[in-house]
């Protein structure tokens, strides 16, 4: 990368790295974004606190070894338990989901080496205390509309059984209850009951992601629900269920 830059640009990168202590990659990013103005690049850098921290790869490898399973090159259930303990966090805590998202974890209850180290690096932490400090801001990310959606959709593939296309119903119900207590949805319990009584099968990805849209756009009294809205049929049936049982006002 550096070889493609002109002399002046290379100098700037060096300067940047020296002053901020950032990595070459970060320096390049910031300078490009500011159109190679050093002052502008500093502004960008200092307004993004995550990038600021420098991580020590050696510390991370040590950390990984602590949690890694003795037989498999992965962090498995016991390792995660230990991690949660160290972090003083309940394994069921939703912050673990956010953390897994940062790690781009493929499946729940396990982290690969790449996922663990890469994730912590992107967070800019290399120790348990630093990670613990970061937890509140991770929790905060759920309040961001955009991020919540990404985390929500991530949760589907993450919570799936390996090799399965749809998400098992019980798991889905658990995830929903978790997610929608954060982003409050008054109908979440009714939704879960409805599914258990009327559907009792696994949940497709489309239904999962469309539910979030439903929660975001349709009010709990369903006054702006549109039958022609191309909602998945399960959601149409849910609306019928709510109307039949008098939970929402009749639509006629």
């Amino acid at each position: 990368m550096m070889s493609k830059l002109g002399r002046g640009q290379k100098d700037k990168v060096q300067q940047f790295m020296a002053i901020t202590g950032a990595s070459e990659k970060v320096a390049l990013q910031a300078l490009k974004a500011s159109d190679w103005h050093l002052e502008g690049a500093f502004d960008i850098f200092y307004s993004q606190p995550q990038i600021r921290a420098v991580t020590d790869t050696r510390h991370l490898e040590e950390l990984y070894k602590r949690y890694r399973d003795p037989d498999v090159d992965m962090i498995l259930v016991e390792g995660i338990s230990l991690l949660c303990n160290d972090l003083q966090v309940d394994p069921q805590d939703i912050v673990m989901l956010v953390l897994s998202w940062h790690m781009k974890a493929a499946t729940m209850c396990e982290f690969s080496c790449q996922e663990f180290i890469g994730g912590l690096q992107s967070l800019g932490v290399d120790s348990i205390p630093k990670l613990r400090e970061k937890l509140p801001s991770l929790r905060n990310e759920l309040r961001d509309e955009h991020k919540f959606r990404e985390i929500y959709n991530f949760a589907f593939s993450w919570a799936r059984e390996k090799g399965q296309k749809p998400l098992a119903l019980d798991t889905a119900l658990g995830m929903w209850r978790l997610l929608f207590s954060e982003k409050h949805w008054p109908l979440v319990e009714h939704w879960c009951q409805f599914l258990q009584v009327r559907h009792n099968k696994a949940i497709s990805r489309d239904t999962w992601s469309q539910l979030l849209e439903f929660v975001k756009t349709i009010d709990p009294q369903l006054s702006n629900y549109d039958e022609e809205g191309a909602w998945p049929y399960l959601i149409d049936e849910f609306v019928e269920y709510l109307t039949e049982n008098g939970i929402v006002p009749s639509r006629k």
Binding site: K165, P166, S204, D206, T207, E228, A230, P232, Y233, D236
Partner: protein
């Protein structure tokens, strides 16, 4: 000018011989003008007094000519006006004084006179008409004469109103039955037209139309209180014809359309709803009683008014829909499917006839009939099954002895009903089942009729619909050939065993019936195995499965006192009966165990062998109507029948039982899913991106020739395709779907 120049040149030679214009004028002295005028004035008087014969046309013409020439046109013209006016005033008084009926006659007479006079005057004054009149922008003589007549006679205060009243009174009298002098009327109205169409309109036509409107308004009110619909329409038609006749006899042609629309409005348009809905005699009653004349009259009368035909059509449509709805939901009628369909066909015939006889084959009415049928036929979801059963009945026995034309007529009529079906795929399923039974039992009235039906279905629905049906026919033929070959090659080995006739059915062409084979009697089993070996010898790689629920058998049975009968039974029945060769009595359970026939079929089978009068080759204890699992069966030694050959088979197509119906419907629903998916994929492949509602509309359109897809099912199929990654939702607009290559 030539001569002048010539003379000029001549004159030049002759030294200044000039030719000059008249120096002295031939002056007409005023006295001469006055004298001339007096001559003409006198002539006009004479003309008006019918004394024209004594006048010299030439002299008068010259006089007038001279006056104009010598610039006395003004005097001539104004004199003419004054003279004519004076005469007309006299005429007016004369007309006014006429009594009663003579008024019009006088007017007519005087008008004729005036016209004659005017003609003569015009001829005399022709020069003035041609030279003076245009240049001084005066009205020409003839027109002047008409205008003066109009102003002084027609619009004279004592004549104008009286004329109008007289004319309208005569019309009124004629309308109420009197005979009037039509010739006189014609002359008068023609006079008014000659005076100018605005005169005709203002002095006669407008009041005529007003009076007529109120006349017919009153009359129609009166009629409608006391007449039934048919009589009322007859009266209206009569009045309409009268008015048209009136116009042709003594009114201006342009009045026709105005008076007829007044009658149409008053007598028909204003009472349309009341007429159509009249109790006991309205449109619906006419339809029920096939009153072709009344209907025809209603149609031609209502056609004349706005919304007339649509009123008839709407009432007819809602009547048909209701009637149809009642028919298809009548539980009594539904017990007999053949009767049910016949009823529908009769209704169709009846109304077809009405439309062709009384409604002029009007296409909009045919469409209304079609849409009504389409509506109510599909209210009953067993219609497809019943139509197939009707056809089965006809092809099995109903059309026996019918000519080719008769067969075609019946089949074409049934095809019309078929076209109305929304669920044609359900029909296909049943038709296949019923056809299979007909073919396998050999019970079809005519091969040609069967094939004709297939052709009709193919024309209507395409090759795919009928390819399997045709396959069934092919199988039958091939089987025949196979059997001949089998017996030719194997006759030595078969010896005295039972004669076998096998029909080899290609799986996929025939309706699928997954039944486990029952236990065949050993004699049968032997010959069946021989056949299997033979067949697989020539067709290796194929698999044969005996369909024991579809076969038949002929058994020779000997009863008490040596009575011999040949029984024609189903394969199941044969299996049961053969057991009694080695036992006199058997319990239900023993039979079940020995034959392994499925319970429902076994019960039906035993019922037909033991509980049907005249066919009870078995005796049952207890002698109850139904089969219970505790029953015991005995060979009925005492069986008698006057027929040597007794048919006990139960392979006739019947109305399905409730559970069977559910099963068929389920299979149809399952078959529809891939068809819907295929349609979605086809559409998305070509359109790439499409919104939900458009997909639903397109899919419905593509499949409508087979069935009406349920939008919820379409939605589920779309979601399934999303799950299998054929489609995805658009990231920005969740109502849009994208095709994933």
């Amino acid at each position: 000018m030539n001569s002048q120049s010539q003379s000029q040149s001549q004159s030049q030679r002759r030294k200044n011989f000039k030719i000059e214009a008249f120096k002295h004028k031939v002056e007409l002295d005023p006295k001469y003008a006055e004298r001339t005028w007096k001559v003409l004035e006198h002539a006009i008087h004479e003309i008006y007094n019918n004394n024209a014969s004594r006048l010299s046309f030439e002299e008068l013409y010259r006089s007038a000519y001279n006056m104009v020439l010598h610039k006395y046109g003004d005097k001539l013209y104004s004199g003419l006006v004054a003279t004519m006016t004076a005469h007309l005033n006299k005429i007016a008084k004369s007309v006014e004084s006429a009594q009663g009926g003579l008024f019009l006659e006088k007017l007519n007479h005087k008008w004729a006179d005036h016209n004659k006079a005017l003609q003569m005057i015009r001829d005399i004054l022709m020069y003035m008409d041609r030279s003076y009149v245009p240049t001084s922008h005066k009205t020409p003589v003839h027109e002047l004469g008409l205008n003066l007549w109009r102003d002084h006679i027609i619009h004279s205060p004592n004549i104008q109103a009286r004329l109008q009243d007289t004319l309208l009174d005569l019309v009124q009298r004629e309308r109420t039955g009197d005979v009037i002098n039509r010739g006189l009327m014609r002359n008068i109205t023609k006079m008014l037209m000659d005076l100018g169409s605005s005169v005709y309109q203002d002095d006669f036509e407008k009041p005529f139309l007003d009076v007529s409107a109120s006349f017919y308004s009153g009359e129609s009110q009166q009629f409608i209180e006391c007449c039934d619909c048919g009589s009322y329409l007859k009266k209206a038609e009569r009045r309409l014809n009268e008015e048209m006749e009136r116009v042709s006899h003594y009114l201006d042609a342009k009045t026709e359309v105005k008076i007829t629309s007044a009658v149409e409005r008053e007598m028909i348009a204003n009472h349309m709803q009341r007429l159509v809905h009249m109790d006991n005699s309205g449109l619906v009653n006419m339809l029920i009683d096939d009153k072709y004349d009344d209907l025809s009259r209603m149609y031609s009368l209502f056609k004349r008014v706005p919304e007339g035909l649509s009123t008839i059509r709407d009432v007819m449509t809602s009547y048909l829909r209701e009637r149809g709805r009642v028919l298809v939901t009548d539980t009594e009628r539904l017990k007999d499917p053949v009767e049910f369909v016949q009823c529908l066909l009769n209704e169709k015939d009846k109304h077809d006839k009405i439309i062709s006889t009384a409604f002029n084959n009007d296409k909009t009415f045919q469409n209304a009939l079609n849409s009504s049928f389409e509506y109510f036929i599909n209210l009953n979801n067993r219609s497809p099954e019943f139509i197939s059963l009707y056809l089965d009945d006809k092809l099995r026995k109903g059309l026996k002895g019918a000519s080719e034309e008769e067969v075609e007529v019946v089949l074409d009529k049934v095809m019309m009903l078929f076209r109305y079906l929304q669920e044609k795929d359900v029909f296909e399923k049943y038709y296949k089942q019923h056809l299979a039974k007909r073919l396998l039992s050999g019970k079809t009235v005519s091969d040609d009729a069967e094939r004709s039906m297939i052709v009709k279905l193919k024309t209507e629905c395409g090759y795919q619909f009928t390819s399997k049906l045709e396959g069934m026919f092919t199988d039958m033929k091939t089987s025949e050939d196979t059997m001949l070959d089998f017996y030719a090659k194997q006759s030595a080995e078969l010896g005295d065993g039972p004669t076998l006739a096998v029909q080899i059915l290609t799986t996929g062409s025939w309706p699928t019936q997954l039944t486990a084979a029952c236990n065949l009697p050993p004699e049968i089993l032997t010959v069946c195995e021989k056949f299997r070996t033979y067949y697989l010898g020539t067709h290796s790689g194929r698999r044969l499965t005996w369909q024991t629920n579809m076969g038949t058998a002929d058994i020779k049975a000997t009863f008490g006192k040596g009575h011999k009968h040949e029984l024609n039974v189903s394969t199941y029945q044969m299996c049961v009966l053969m057991l009694f060769n080695s036992a006199d009595g058997l319990t239900y359970r023993e039979i079940e165990q020995a034959t392994e026939i499925p319970a429902l079929d076994l019960k039906r089978c035993l019922q037909s062998l033991a509980c049907v009068k005249g066919k009870n080759v078995l005796r049952k204890e207890p002698m109850s109507k139904d089969i219970s699992e505790e029953d015991v069966f005995y060979f009925n030694d005492k069986f008698t029948s006057k027929f040597v050959k007794v048919k006990i088979g139960t392979v006739v197509a019947q109305k399905e039982s409730e559970p069977e119906k559910q099963e068929t419907r389920q299979r149809v629903e399952e078959d529809r899913k891939p068809q819907i998916e295929a349609a979605i994929v086809r559409i998305m492949k070509s359109r790439r991106v499409l919104d939900h509602n458009s997909i639903v509309a397109e899919v419905t359109k593509q499949l409508q020739s087979r069935f009406l897809p349920n939008p919820v099912v379409i939605k589920k199929r779309i979601e399934s395709l999303i799950e299998r990654e054929f489609l995805e939702r658009d990231k920005a607009d969740r109502k849009l779907y994208r095709y994933l290559a």
